[in-house]
């Protein structure tokens, strides 16, 4: 069985990869040191533990389209990857979704873009739970992840937004009125009843619980949005087909079917109608923008890693392949190709780091985005409190929920939101375009070696294409940059 090999490339260390971050060390050494340590840990994990699985897992998917990558998920669970972004007092590792997550994602993707996809489904679910600000559900989900991370089938969640006839339209609040939605929730005694179908849901066939987003009124979706937790085995809920994707097969793309599925009250993370006050009108938009700001930046980092993965493989092979008797690495044209690929990586990296800094400025009062303060990770009192029933109840109350929503809302100005929207879309577009471009270049200049599965390049080519499509197509993200950023300074301009 072929597997990914690496040359000893200690020259490409943290400072080589992130020269601009290193500049920060003069002003705030603790952040940089923390990021560096976490990055080195991640690099060790992906090269030593993940790399041996990458090609064999992908081959199993080619052999059997119904294969599910449990082995890879177990690996993630065993190495604490499923609780990474949960604060310490909730039982997690306390790496918030800050710079560390971004640079670690890049590192992961440089070895396996598809592994990121698997983790991404779970991460998106977590992001939705965090941003719904429902601490009661967050507490339960966090407990289960920690409790089952070493299981045969570890506990993960997903996030269901896309519908069969509405992909791009449910990625933008402004597009909701025009979307052809098929899912709708209905209030019922004891909770809510869900109906409809969701498709392309990442990690769907691996998840135990599903975070589902659908409106109570399709015709007024943007003001009646609901966010629900649906567990496997709930009557009226079933898993449909698993899509046969070109790549990124480690994370399944699943269909979720809701047929009069009753969700109990305690599993409703957010029902916008519970907060009818005028000030909460824009809450859903805020939540979605917040999630997208983070996830699009993350896709930028993930894409950068994919672009680098293609570059890394190309460099590795260029030292071994000959053209007219001379090794490629010694030929000017090959060096030109490799340099172009390297430039693409650096551009993509610049875009996501820039976006991360804008997030840290825009959401500076939200610990999830900028880094959990140490008391959230180390406080024994908080850890104890979190496990008291009365405190859990208090956290999960509507009043508490409203307080937190208020806090978050007042923490983000419209200008900052616009900047976050722009930069995160930009990171996503630049990153994914560079990822695809590097795959094109690698395949072109390597010839046969780029086409054979056992050399690890063709897999990246197949994996990369999805990056331009999900999290809002690159077309939508371009419009997004115009609408949320450029249009603000062009009075009267028509936007789409």
């Amino acid at each position: 069985m072929s597997q990914l090999n690496f040359d000893q490339d200690e020259r490409f260390d943290f400072d080589d990869n992130f020269p601009s971050l290193a500049a920060l060390a003069k002003y705030e050494p603790t952040i940089v040191e923390r990021v560096r340590k976490s990055w080195e840990d991640e690099r060790h994990f992906v090269r030593e533990h993940l790399a041996p699985l990458v090609l064999s897992e992908d081959l199993q998917h080619a052999q059997n389209p119904d294969h599910i990558s449990w082995e890879m998920l177990r690996l993630a669970g065993r190495h604490g990857r499923l609780v990474q972004y949960i604060p310490g007092f909730m039982g997690g590792k306390g790496n918030s979704l800050g710079i560390s997550m971004m640079v670690n994602l890049e590192e992961q993707a440089s070895v396996d873009c598809a592994f990121c996809g698997m983790m991404g489904g779970h991460g998106l679910g977590l992001a939705a739970v965090f941003m719904s600000l429902n601490l009661g559900v967050l507490r339960r989900v966090a407990d289960r992840i920690a409790e089952h991370q070493n299981d045969e089938k570890p506990y993960v969640i997903d996030c269901a937004i896309t519908e069969p006839t509405a992909g791009t339209d449910v990625e933008e609040v402004e597009l909701y009125p025009k979307a052809r939605l098929m899912c709708q929730a209905k209030h019922a005694s004891g909770g809510a009843v869900l109906n409809g179908r969701k498709v392309f849901i990442s990690t769907g066939h691996m998840a135990t619980d599903h975070i589902v987003i659908m409106p109570f009124d399709q015709k007024n979706a943007e003001n009646t949005m609901g966010c629900f937790l649906v567990s496997n085995g709930t009557p009226g809920f079933s898993l449909g087909r698993m899509e046969r994707k070109m790549g990124q097969r480690a994370g399944s793309a699943s269909e979720l079917i809701f047929d009069n599925c009753l969700v109990p009250e305690e599993n409703i993370l957010l029902a916008q109608e519970q907060f009818p006050e005028e000030k909460f009108k824009q809450q859903f938009k805020l939540v979605l923008h917040g999630v997208l700001g983070i996830t699009r930046t993350a896709v930028g980092a993930w894409s950068t890693g994919t672009a680098r993965g293609a570059f890394d493989r190309a460099l590795y092979l260029a030292k071994r392949i000959k053209y007219k008797g001379r090794t490629l690495i010694h030929q000017q044209w090959a060096q030109a190709f490799l340099t172009n690929m390297h430039i693409n990586v650096m551009m993509a990296r610049g875009a996501y780091l820039n976006s991360q800094f804008v997030l840290m400025r825009g959401f500076e009062r939200i610990p999830l985005v900028i880094g959990f303060p140490s008391w959230m990770n180390d406080s024994a009192i908080l850890y104890w409190l979190f496990r008291q029933n009365w405190y859990r109840k208090f956290l999960g109350s509507r009043w508490m929920h409203g307080q937190i929503m208020d806090y978050v809302r007042s923490s983000i100005s419209e200008d900052q939101d616009a900047r976050v929207q722009q930069m995160s879309s930009l990171a996503k577009v630049v990153g994914s375009d560079m990822a695809m471009e590097n795959c094109q270049l690698a395949t072109e200049f390597l010839g046969q070696a780029g086409l054979r599965h056992d050399q690890g390049v063709e897999k990246i080519f197949r994996d990369a294409k999805l990056l331009q499509i999900f999290e809002g197509t690159n077309q939508l993200n371009r419009l997004n940059i115009f609408t949320h950023y450029l249009a603000r300074h062009i009075p009267g301009v028509e936007v789409f």
Binding site: K178, R244, K245, Q448, L451, E458, I469
Partner: protein, 369 residues
């Protein structure tokens, strides 16, 4: 072999279209599961029965003695439905071309009627690999070494392979019978695209072949001429894939809605479709002109440039063909992701893309000296 007359061209075009519609359109995805599903030997046989695969052979060898224009046109229509089957015909025809050009009559007699011939289509004609060595022994040769990524090797009866003639710098073409136990084939290699075209590595520790099986003692200088003749066919393959992608993208974007509008009514989507349309529409004229030049024996730079232009543009455009369908482009159902993989694979026919560019300039400079 001169230019094809219009009636003849039209007849082959119709046969190819009908064959693509009947045999390929609905089954292309099944063929693509190889090596985890059966090789589609039946379709290859059917193509032969309707007269699509032997068109370049002379009549006395069971062919219809057509030129590149007819052959390219056939491949275009097949590739529109399934590039793998079209590529199989092309690779097999290259093998036949080599035997026809350099083989003794007895060899022609035996192997031109073979079901399939393997041929190193992914190698650059000016940079054939040196993994195999041939040593003279008695009346024949002994082959030792390895040939990597040989197209059709897992399913072919015989193969045309390059080998360095021991004691010289020259690379020769040998014809080897793949049923010979002295040569071993690796398990089929999983490829990015053209998965219906099986490829494998060949290895031998000492395979004795008769002297007649030495097809061409100096393939390094003679093969580029043969490869040049087949450039229009490779271009037609790429353009055919782009045409398939274009039609599928148009059909899909005419049906689906986004932001309250039919997708094709979004200008950004039209820009994507235009990228595919440019090569799908102009490509037919380009490979047609390339093929006529070959048939009329004219050496034109259009051969080199047309192949670069059509394969590179097609392989980039089909990515937009996927993009136009969004998530549905990325799953197998609409065939778009397969076309994206196939086009990229075709781009490496006759060597890596940038190598073809370097060779173009080398040729130009040599000619202008």
């Amino acid at each position: 072999m001169g230019t094809a007359d219009q009636a003849c061209l039209a007849a082959f075009r119709e046969t190819a279209q009908r064959f693509a519609q009947k045999e390929l359109k609905t089954r292309a995805l099944d063929f693509d599961r190889y090596p985890y599903a059966e090789f589609n030997a039946g379709v290859v046989r059917a193509a032969r029965e309707v007269g699509l695969s032997q068109v370049l052979l002379p009549e006395e060898r069971g062919g219809t003695c057509q030129g590149m224009e007819v052959f390219s046109e056939i491949l275009f229509f097949l590739a529109e439905a399934d590039a793998s089957v079209a590529a199989i015909l092309l690779i097999n025809a290259l093998g036949q071309g080599a035997i026809l050009k350099w083989g003794k009559p007895s060899l022609q007699e035996k192997y031109l009627s073979a079901d399939l011939l393997a041929f190193p289509v992914y190698d650059s004609p000016s940079d054939l690999p040196k993994g195999m060595e041939a040593e003279k022994k008695g009346n024949g040769y002994v082959l030792k070494g390895k040939v990597e990524y040989l197209a059709l090797a897992p399913v072919a009866e015989a193969a045309v392979i390059p080998a360095v003639l021991k004691g010289t710098e020259k690379i020769a073409f040998f014809l080897v019978d793949l049923n010979n136990p002295g040569i071993s084939r690796s398990a089929p290699v999983l490829s990015l695209g053209l998965r219906g075209v099986p490829a494998a590595d060949l290895e031998t520790a000492g395979l004795e072949v008769p002297a007649d099986n030495l097809l061409c003692p100096d393939a390094g200088s003679e093969y580029p001429g043969l490869a040049a003749r087949f450039r229009p066919a490779a271009a037609a393959l790429a353009v055919g894939v782009a045409a398939g992608s274009y039609e599928a993208a148009k059909a899909y974007t005419r049906e689906r809605y986004q932001a309250g509008k039919i997708i094709i009514d979004h200008e950004m989507v039209r820009l994507l479709l235009s990228n595919v349309a440019v090569i799908a529409e102009s490509g037919r004229t380009i490979f047609g002109a390339m093929a006529r030049a070959v048939d009329e024996g004219r050496e034109e730079l259009l051969g080199e440039t047309g192949l670069i232009l059509s394969t590179e543009l097609a392989s980039r455009a089909v990515s937009d063909g996927v993009q136009a369908l969004g998530g549905y482009g990325y799953i197998e159902d609409y065939g778009q992701e397969k076309r994206m993989r196939d086009a990229k694979q075709i781009e490496s026919f006759f060597g890596p893309a940038p190598v073809k560019r370097l060779e173009l300039l080398e040729g130009i400079i040599r000619r202008e000296k």
